[in-house]
Amino acid sequence: MMARQNRLLSVSDLVVQHRRAGRRPVRAVAGVSLDLGAGEVLGLVGESGCGKSSLARAVCGLTAPTGGEILFDGRPMRPLGVRRRAPALTGVQMVFQDPYGSLNPRRRVSAQIADGIRAGAERGERGATKLTPGALLVRVGLPEDLADRYPQELSGGQRQRVAIARAVAARPRLLVGDEPISALDASAQAQVARMMRALAVESGAGLLFISHDLSVVRLIADRIAVMYLGRIVETGPTAEVWENPRHPYTRALLAAIPHPDGAGRLPVELPGDASDAAAPPSGCRFHPRCPLAFEGCDREEPQLAADGVACRLYSS
């Protein structure tokens, strides 16, 4: 592993808690460490409610972490406050899940992409000023003349491409996609995911791609991290995790993917729902649903080992 300082993004022991009035705080991210290099694509997968989005928002500085550290390019990521974001930190850009909420309905597409270009130029990125909204639209696979339109004249897929164009216009060094494809038609999902990878890798940026859809993540990620109830339970190179999943949760996720092999097999579903993040189970967070749980899983919490899995099956 490279020295942490050299990584583009380095998250260590991150804790994100959401306070709720009158109730116990929810620990959405409960001690997560991960890092990401330039030109690398990390796919973060897990069920909804497992803390993926909280992690993404913390990485972008949209929520202040309760504990732990986020280093972007060796510098701590400062949470967004009243002050305007320092130009250096506009090198982190996010593509949100909902393409209907992430574009201002009252401004033309060109103006919103131009905001991205300006952000890149203000950071002093070479060549940022040469970009035009039209050229960026072409790069995300849209016709140039969409620049004069308003978001509501576009389809969901087109909007998401516009949102990606705006993020890419800022010449980000780290692109974070928070479920960027889950609101899209099935036909567009793989296409948009591949495009995001290409755009990030081309410019040497890192891509943190968050999704609950392992089959799409597999297509684009160099590494996969599997998250369950606020913790990473398994991580490793994509092919390795895909071919040889070790954590029971990862296996369950993979088994839930339908295979169109003509055998007519239905995917195996994981019994039960994820536990309440406000009151996580003792010991291993997955043990109440784990088919392989054994003596002690309800007491000892396994840590993510150097081999990339947090499960007591492999610890002794």
Partner: protein, 288 residues
């Protein structure tokens, strides 16, 4: 009016009440602008006969000092309309800015601004305006100031609520991630989204402001005596109860203008209401 042009208006603006409202408001606006041309007499000139009933020479009669009521009503429009528009515009500005800040920045800013707004809202509007106007001394400027001080909180409330709803919108977060300053974010992403509803509130409030202003003048806390102001003219009328025309004509003026502004406000609200937005084609509106 050209009928084809009428058909192109949104449905809410084609209703009879809206047309009546805009007609009456337009008439009063013209009357106020052209008062020196229209008024048969000097509104301040005293002449015999005093307390003359409506008839030839003095269509609306004369008051206790022998001043022509018609001329005074016309000149009154030059006081009431601009001042109520001013006071409402100021309330919109003050309330909108304070409420916008409260909603956008939240926490302590929000707490301080909204508690002050609650404090003002806790008092009955008219009574608080009376107290402030009385404390400041009787004059039109002070009446305007008093009304502004009691009228801004609803604007702040609405602006805050709208901004609060918008603040967590992802397009606003996207802007901040791109390095928008708070000011740019407010101007580019927030303001256009709150302006419509605030303008409706403004239009609906013009009638109120007119009423409050003439109310203060009626009680002697607004316009000083020689000035032709509708509220103080109605007050004169109460002193001369036999001469009904002194109070009735300025009273009718207040009634018609307030109704007209309220009709217009209703029309604007219906035109901008999301429920009816479909019929007027939001996409086209935004594109225009």
């Amino acid at each position: 009016m050209n009928l084809r042009l009428l058909k192109r208006l949104p449905p809410a603006c084609r209703r009879p009440l809206t047309l009546i409202g805009s007609g009456v408001a337009l008439l009063w606006l013209l009357a106020g602008l052209a008062a020196p041309l229209l008024a048969p007499h000097d509104p301040l000139a005293q002449s015999l006969p005093r307390l003359a009933g409506p008839g030839r020479g003095h269509w609306f009669g004369t008051d206790a000092l022998g001043r022509d009521i018609l001329s005074r009503v016309l000149y009154g429009a030059r006081v009431s309309i601009p001042l109520s528009l001013t006071v409402v515009a100021l309330s919109l500005f003050v309330g909108g800015v304070l409420g916008g800040f409260a909603g956008y920045f939240g926490r302590r800013v929000d707490e301080v601004i909204m508690r002050v707004a609650d404090l003002v809202l806790a008092f009955p509007t008219v009574i608080l305006a009376l107290v402030i106007a009385a404390a400041l001394g009787a004059s039109l400027q002070n009446a305007v100031l008093a009304i502004l001080l009691v009228a801004w909180p609803p604007f702040a409330r609405v602006a805050r609520g709208l901004v609060l709803g918008l603040r967590s919108q992802e397009y606003i977060l996207s802007g901040r991630l791109l390095g928008f300053s708070a000011w740019r974010s407010l101007r580019v992403d927030v303001l256009p989204g709150v302006l419509g509803p605030l303008l409706v509130l403004t239009a609906l409030d013009i009638g109120n402001a007119t009423l409050l202003l003439s109310g203060l003048s009626f009680l002697g806390l607004g316009a000083k005596p020689p000035i032709a102001e509708w509220g103080s003219m109605v007050a004169d009328g109460t002193l001369q109860f036999d001469s009904w025309w002194i109070g009735v004509f300025p009273g009718l003026a207040i009634l018609t203008i307030v109704l007209a502004f309220n009709f217009l406000g209703d029309a604007l609200r219906d035109a901008l209401d999301p429920g009816t937005a479909k019929t007027i084609g939001t996409a086209k509106e935004h594109a225009a």
